[in-house]
Amino acid sequence: MTGSSGATRSPVVRLTGVRKSFPEGDRVRDVLLGVEIEIDRGEFVVLLGPSGSGKSTLLNLVAGIDAPDAGSIWIAGNEIARLDERERTLFRRAHLGFVFQFYNLIPTLTVEENLLLPIELQGRVGTEARERARSLLDRVGLADRAGTFPDRLSGGEQQRIALCRALVHEPDLILADEPTGNLDPETGERVLDLLDELVRADGRTLLAVTHSATLAARADRVLRLEGGRVVEAAPAP
């Protein structure tokens, strides 16, 4: 397993004093109570925590999908809370890649088109992009399914496509939300192998939210969300 030593010391993600609460009926539920995180370029970080601890909330904040009540969030040198809605969307498009628990592929686009979508959104579709998409498909062993629609694929295959989609536009940060939560252990393991391989091979930064000990075992660093705060967990054996 590769440690954090291989990464250059420039944080891709920096959260300081991030707080978030939600109204719940008449009460207010505090979910995050001053979160501090720093993730360096090339790091593979896993965030653990029990259900309802605020993992997904934190992920949404990092993605710029939700805004914090207090604190600041820097991603690739941009303080995203200062961006307006449209700027945040364009920022996500350029700098982030997503892997969702339920794959969230576009059912009406073919496998290849799903991969080309993030590139087309940036207006840079061309031969090079197509080649990159093809090579990624090749690396996950699905090159022969390029023209297939997602609903013809198994869950594991869909998640492999989702991995490719998250990487195809070479983002600064990949966010993964329970990437194996919907897969059987064996398939999950294969998907994790690919995730591990693809992320590290390209020197990408990954923040994954999970319950899975298997995933945590592959991380450079494991964080734990407890009582609204993030603490460094003991490295996996």
Binding site: I106, L117, P118
Partner: protein
């Protein structure tokens, strides 16, 4: 095409049922509007074409009114006023067995004066011998197409009924294509020499003299010279003024049809709204995902609005084609009503103009985009989340319920306020009506919540947990169920409301016929237009009829349409048998004195529409044009449904003073004690000579005939009502389908837990039935309001009639039954689909 565009196009194609419903909604809405427009425009265009053919290039016309013009006036106009370009015209309607159901416009002209006026008649062309038209007694000419239709060949005898007189003409030639005006213009024309026309009509007078006056001051001077020569009752007016006035009669009729056709479009909009919203809701998670990976709101907006635009364009194109086809069918219904009520018009082909298509196109695409806006908004506001719970959206919908309820109350009250405004505007009336009905429809969500709250315990006790689920399910998916219920409320209230209006109208009419048809037998010459006078019966015949054994008394009626300061004025001169007085019920005026003053020729009676249209009442004076002209006060205003343009009644003495014309338009015959109707009719028929065509009808047959005309008049209303209901019904199906598909997973779980397909069927059906009950109950006040407004506001403002509203408890039953049946019928397909879906598929589809 961009990948987003491709994804969206494939989504539409992958849901063909949904796409088809949306397209159908757009297409039907557009089709109904276009077809009505087309029918109205075509009948107007045909009327204009035939008027133009007849008026020709005349700049002015001298109209004779009821007394018509003396023959020598033409010579004086030419000699004394110095107007050489002048042509005499005698006009009447001719009917023939060879062309059943059609009336030809018999135009008696002087071929030598014609050339500057109607060159397109092609008189003197190679196809026929002009001299024969002049020299052959009874020579007539028609368009080649008409001759072919009737099966006439040149030299064939042609049997005609011209204003009640049987005559035999000879076809001496055919004319061509109608020149610039086209064949349509000649389609209902029959041309003859003026002397022949006068002989046919046994009336040595002219109906009109067409003039070509120069422009500017010389023209005005010539007009002044002509006016100085005119006998009393005759008028000089720009050509076409009368035709315009006649076409103007159709204003309210057209507006009512247009309002009904727009209703279909409103339902179409609802259907599109439903379908578009559903297609967005289905993709809520997808949109959330797209937003997460960096698709901007603007891009999502573009994607969804393009879907709507494409659907709108395709649906509209289909709708335009369907509308033209439907228009061809409806034009028959529209022209038949115009022929029954207003004037003769014959439409061969429908006139599809670019403007009409453009209007339909803009309306269709515009309505689709408008209907899609809430869906587009929902898509654009989709939060960029990886998952989203539906109940959040529903919570938002439930928060809106009270606000929507209050808005409904406010809109209804605004509608009532509009209706109470002291205006005669029909448009304001329709807008007020729309506000009231839509306001009540806006109460659908709050009523649903209340109904479910009341019914849940009841259903729980009677049906068990499934009953509770059915009732709660309706509220849980309020954002789906409420629009469907609202649409059902509007559709049912329109259907029931219009039904009540028509039934009330019919009941009022039957009541009116009961007292207005006092005589036992009616005699009149056949007429091309039911509500207009045609020919007259000669006084000798009237006398012979009065002397027929079994006849105890006779009322005579003489009707004429004359140009006047009130526009075309229908005047009726009555010589009433005392028993005939009961035929008139007064809305204003003193019955005790009114008839005495009326008989003495000291006062007039006017019909309610006439009084309403011209804002006149008892005591006001009305000027009747005639040889001398006379101005008399109104003694009473009476109820009349014979003409929406209004009628002025005068004693026969007044007529005789004004006009030198002893003819009688119709007779009402009272039988002697013990005389048998059938026998007297046979005796009367025997007194009529072979050259006279008359209809002799018993009281009963005339009443039946009137009701046939009434039912025919409302046939088109029935068609439009049905079409609007169909569109609304499809909308409800699509809403229910959306609701059930959204609940596929929930139903899948239930199936997995042991619910039988039959129970699923029952659950879905219970829900739709419940929705039907709520809609039906709400439709009662809405339908009642609609009926009240149609009867007391729209009818009054359109036609000046006051109808008695007839509404019984059946309205209540009808509303609820119709709504429940419609909801259940609309639920059959969704229920069937959901009960057939395997639980595994339903669960996997999540």
């Amino acid at each position: 095409m961009s990948l987003l565009g491709r994804a969206s196009r494939r989504f539409l194609l992958r849901h063909p049922g949904q796409l088809a419903l949306t397209l159908l909604g757009v297409a039907l809405g557009v089709a109904v509007v276009v077809s009505i427009d087309l029918a109205i425009l075509s009948s107007r265009a045909a009327f204009a074409a035939s008027t133009e053919t007849v008026a020709g290039r005349a700049t002015h016309a001298i109209e004779g009114g009821a007394a018509r013009l003396p023959d020598d006036l033409l010579a004086r106009v030419r000699r004394e006023a110095g107007v050489r370009a002048s042509a005499p015209v005698v006009e009447a309607y001719a009917m023939t067995r060879a062309l059943p159901g059609r009336a030809l416009r018999l135009l008696g002209i002087d071929p030598f004066s014609e050339r500057p006026f109607r060159p397109w008649l092609g008189l003197g062309g190679p196809d026929f011998d002009l001299t024969r038209l002049i020299t052959d007694a009874g020579g007539v000419v028609v368009a080649a197409e008409v001759a072919a239709e009737a099966g006439w060949r040149v030299d064939d005898p042609v049997d005609l009924i011209v204003e009640g007189r049987r005559v035999t003409a000879t076809l001496v030639g055919v004319i061509g294509e109608g020149g610039d005006l086209g064949g349509e213009a000649l389609r209902d024309l029959m041309i003859t020499d003026i002397a022949t026309a006068q002989r046919f009509l046994a009336r040595p007078r002219l109906d009109r003299i067409d003039l070509r006056l120069p422009e500017g001051a010389p023209g005005e001077e010539a007009a002044a010279r002509v006016r100085a020569l005119l006998p009393g009752g005759a008028t000089l007016a720009p050509a076409g003024a009368r035709a315009e006035e006649m076409a103007g009669m159709l204003g309210a009729f057209d507006l009512n049809l247009t309002a009904l056709s727009l209703l279909a479009l409103v339902f179409g909009v609802f259907l599109i709204y439903n379908a578009m919203t559903f297609s967005v809701v289905q993709r809520r998670e997808l949109f959330g995902g797209l937003r997460a990976i960096g698709v901007t709101r603007r891009e999502l907006f573009g994607m969804v609005i393009s879907e709507a635009a494409w659907t709108g364009v395709v649906g509209t194109v289909l709708g335009l084609a369907l509308g033209v086809a439907l228009g061809r069918g409806l034009v028959g219904l529209v022209t038949r009503t115009i022929n029954d009520l207003y004037f003769v018009v014959s439409v061969e082909s429908v006139t599809v103009t670019p403007i009409l298509l453009l209007k339909g196109g803009v309306l269709g695409v515009g309505a689709t985009l408008l209907a899609a806006l809430p869906a587009v908004r929902e898509a654009v506001l989709a939060p960029p989340r990886t998952s989203m719970v539906r109940s959040l959206g529903e919570a938002r919908a439930r928060d809106l319920v009270p606000r929507l309820g209050w808005a409904g109350v406010a809109v209804s009250l605004a509608g009532v306020a509009l209706l109470l405004l002291p205006t005669r505007s029909l448009v304001v009336g329709f807008v007020g009506l729309a506000c009231v009905v839509l306001g009540i429809a806006a109460l659908a969500p709050v009523s649903t919540v209340v109904a479910a709250r009341l019914l849940t315990p009841l259903l729980g006790r009677t049906v068990g947990i499934l009953g509770t689920m059915a009732s709660r399910g309706v509220v849980a998916a309020l954002s789906r169920t409420a629009p469907a219920i609202a649409a059902l409320v509007v559709a049912v209230s329109v259907t029931v409301g219009l039904g009540v209006m028509i039934a009330s109208f019919r009941a009022t009419l039957i009541d009116w016929l009961d007292y207005t048809l006092q005589a036992d037998i009616y005699v009149a010459p056949p007429s091309a237009v039911a509500s207009r006078s045609a020919g007259t019966l000669p006084p000798e015949l009237v006398q012979r009829m009065s002397d027929t054994p079994g006849v105890a008394g006779v009322s005579t009626l003489r009707a004429a349409e004359v140009p006047s300061e009130y526009g075309e004025l229908r005047i009726v001169a009555l010589d009433l048998d005392p028993r005939g007085e009961a035929a008139y019920r007064f809305r204003a005026g003193d019955p005790a004195t009114a008839f005495a003053r009326f008989r003495a020729g000291e006062a007039l009676l006017v019909s309610e529409p006439f009084a309403y249209r011209h804002g006149l009442g008892v005591g006001d004076r009305v000027r009747i044009p005639g040889a001398e002209g006379v101005e008399l006060p109104i003694a009473a205003v009476f109820t009349d449904f014979g003409s929406d343009q209004g009628v002025v009644l005068m004693g026969r003495v007044v007529w005789d003073r004004l006009f030198d014309d002893a003819g009688v338009t119709s007779l009402g015959i009272f039988l002697a004690e013990g005389a048998r109707t059938r026998e007297v009719i046979a005796a009367l028929e025997a007194t009529v000579g072979a050259d006279q065509a008359v209809f002799i009808n018993s009281n009963r047959r005339l009443r039946e005939g009137s009701l046939v005309v009434f039912d025919r008049t409302f046939a088109i209303t029935g068609v439009l009502r049905a079409l609007a209901f169909v569109v609304a019904f499809i909308g409800v199906i699509s809403a229910l389908m959306a609701l059930q598909l959204e609940r596929a997973r929930e139903l899948g779980v239930l199936r997995a837990n042991g619910l039988t397909p039959r129970q699923v069927w029952g659950l879905v059906t219970a829900q739709t039935g419940l929705m039907g009950v709520v809609a039906g109950v709400l439709a009662i006040p809405a339908g009642l309001a609609l009926a009240v407004v149609m009867i007391f506001v729209v009818n009054k403002r359109s036609f000046g009639w006051t109808l008695e509203m007839t509404v019984g408890p059946e309205l209540l039953v009808q509303s609820v039954a119709l709504a429940v049946l419609a909801a259940l019928a609309a639920g059959i397909w969704p229920a069937w689909r959901m009960s057939r879906t395997s639980p595994a598929v339903a669960l996997r589809n999540e």
